[in-house]
Amino acid sequence: MKKILAMLLALSMIFALCACGGSKEETKTETETPAAEAAPAAEAAPAAAAGAFKLGVQGPLTGGAAIYGTAVVNGAKIAVDEINAKGGIQFELQAQDDEADSGDKAINAYNALMDWGMQVLVGPVTSGSGVTVGAQAYADRVFCLTPSGSSVDCIADKDNFFQVCFTDPNQGVASADYMAKNYAGAKVAVIYKNDDAYSQGIRDTFVKEAEAKAVEVVYEGTFNESTQTDFSVQLTAAQAAGADMVFLPIYYTPASVILSQANAMGYAPTFFGVDGMDGILAMPGFDTALAEGVMLLTPFSADSQDALTQNFVAKYQAAYGETPNQFAADAYDAVYIVAAALEAAGCTPDMDAAAICEALIPVMPTISVDGVTGQGMTWAASGEVSKAPMAIVIKDGVYVTP
């Protein structure tokens, strides 16, 4: 029996290796599928094949964080279609799944893209993956623009890594400043996810800045991946501590549970979120009345009236049947930023990744891009973006500026 088992395994290994080794020859057929997917307008495909930049996206497409990766891929696809339809710079897009991992899966996805011949990386989507892949891309000299990897460690010590989103400290400071200015004397409770670098990072700078600005933090509660179903204890404790404002530096999925549980126990403080909170109104089945009066600092609002945002939101809804969130918007902008930078640097698709990277690095601090997540975005050489966060409040199920 053992022998047969061993033989079976050996056979399947050969099969798997063939499939793996075969990918080299098959690169062409493989890449055409995502490219065709990326450009439903089939007429764009031949033009793309002639002289197109190979744009890679990597993020979680399966697993618990899949929502973020899928949103980024969808947003990027829309931007690529628009740019390709305009003529001029052409893009080919390929997305790979990294399961939001910070170790082997992240590098495997990156390597798969590199084998495809990626010239610029729009990603990684998550911070953990960003740090790992960033270090590798720095060594390989590949230009990276992450839509949503907000940790400072993503851009630290790397000249080739830029961000579209705010860094975590930036958000913590901005939130504390806003509270100090508009809610003087508020008693604040913080509920954050302590095994998530994004949440912990915002909380750290928020608490520090709150102390400096004399905003009183009366309670801090945490949760993690294993305990994110029930928040009634944290909410009861916050209520008992007399908090009239609850700061939630977390993503909208757990936030929606917190809102509904607070409502069920009759606790109604002002909830204050950050960019991860965006998307809560678009959750299927979510009762928007629960989010009445929730404040959030975010650079993107799907209800914004400017033409750029409306165009993007309409296209996204038509293509995917849902309202785009922060991640999709960041990715949409990211593709436009790459296009602007490539144009400014005068890059051509026949240049290799390293040459493009060296050409883009000096250009990035000089360009200014108008996107759906901010007007006149500019970059520091460190990779940090400069744009204004908007404070918005949810009224009657839509975002309005207070």
């Binding site: 929502i67 302590n194 993690n224 179903t229 009634s232 204890v233 929606s256 069920a264 959750m283």
Partner: protein, 292 residues
């Protein structure tokens, strides 16, 4: 008063664990396998009732029935396709197959419903306020606890009073002897899976009503916790699963409230380890001394 509300949220959380644990324990008791896909059947139950409510606009109780019917069928199908051929295989092989089924269900759900989390509309909304609003208990919690007690009592009665239930107990004692007594072992095991999966659907609805998010991975963590609860109470024992689940929920809540929210999970597991050292077969489990 705060202590009371911590306790109540613990009991409510514990009841959800207990219902899931009852499903685990039923299957384990008869088929002697750890069905790691149980948590994912819960997720399917949640999605089915969600779809029934949101897309077909059926009333809450009908959608619970829809979830139960689908999950029961799913349980029977999974059992027939994946577990039945492995009746005589080593238990670890079955365990790995169950893990494969768990991956399959999660990834199918991802393809069908997408990665976007759904917000589950509560089957029953509203809150009971006591002591001038100092203590509030949501109706969902009350229903969860009631349902949990009813299910536990019902299962106990079923296994000790009815013919089918007695057949189940016979199978769990000794399959060979049961077969000789004219019990159809295969059918009994299928029935156990059907009951376990129907329970999973109820657990799914109650889990999602109390903690309203629904994702393809919704079932996995509560599944592991409930497995822990089942072992805590003594796996294979129906009152044990109930007690284990309840205690697990209460310990988790109180640890969060009074010790540390960071380490609440660790504290739960540490208590589990200590209990198992004192009672190596769980709280209500039978300790069977080995004979030579």
């Amino acid at each position: 008063m705060e202590f009371l509300s911590y306790l109540i949220s613990g009991i409510s959380l514990g009841s959800v664990y207990a219902i899931i644990a009852l499903g685990y324990t039923m299957v384990y008791g008869i088929a002697k396998m750890l069905n790691f896909a149980h948590g994912d059947v819960i997720m399917v139950g949640g999605y089915m009732s969600f779809c029934a409510m949101s897309y077909l606009h059926l009333p809450g109780w009908v959608s619970v029935l829809v979830g139960m019917v689908v999950c029961t069928l799913l349980g029977i199908i999974i059992e027939a396709l994946a577990y039945k051929p492995l009746r005589s295989a080593p238990s670890l092989a079955v365990l790995i197959t169950a893990i494969g089924v768990s991956y399959l269900l999660q990834n199918s759900a991802l393809l069908i419903w997408g990665a976007n989390p759904m917000s589950y509309p509560p089957v029953i909304s509203g809150t009971l306020h006591l002591f001038d609003g100092q203590l509030s208990i949501s109706y969902v919690s009350i229903i969860t606890v009631t349902a949990c007690v009813l299910i536990m009592l019902g299962l106990t009665a079923f296994t000790s009073k009815t013919k089918m239930g007695k057949a189940m107990r016979a199978c769990s004692e000794d399959k060979g002897a049961a077969q000789l007594m004219g019990i159809n072992v295969n059918r009994t095991i299928s029935l156990t899976f059907a009951i376990g999966s129907a329970l999973a659907a109820i657990a799914g609805v109650l889990l999602c009503s109390s903690y309203p998010t629904l994702m393809p991975t919704t079932g996995s963590m509560p599944g592991i916790k409930a497995f822990t609860a089942a072992v805590f109470g003594g796996i294979g024992s129906i009152p044990g699963a109930f007690l284990g689940g309840l205690l697990l929920g209460i310990i988790e809540s109180l640890a969060k409230a009074y010790i540390s929210t960071q380490l609440s999970n660790s504290i739960v597991f540490a208590v589990l380890i200590v209990v198992l050292l004192v009672r190596p077969a769980g709280l209500l489990g039978k300790y069977v001394p080995e004979k030579v």
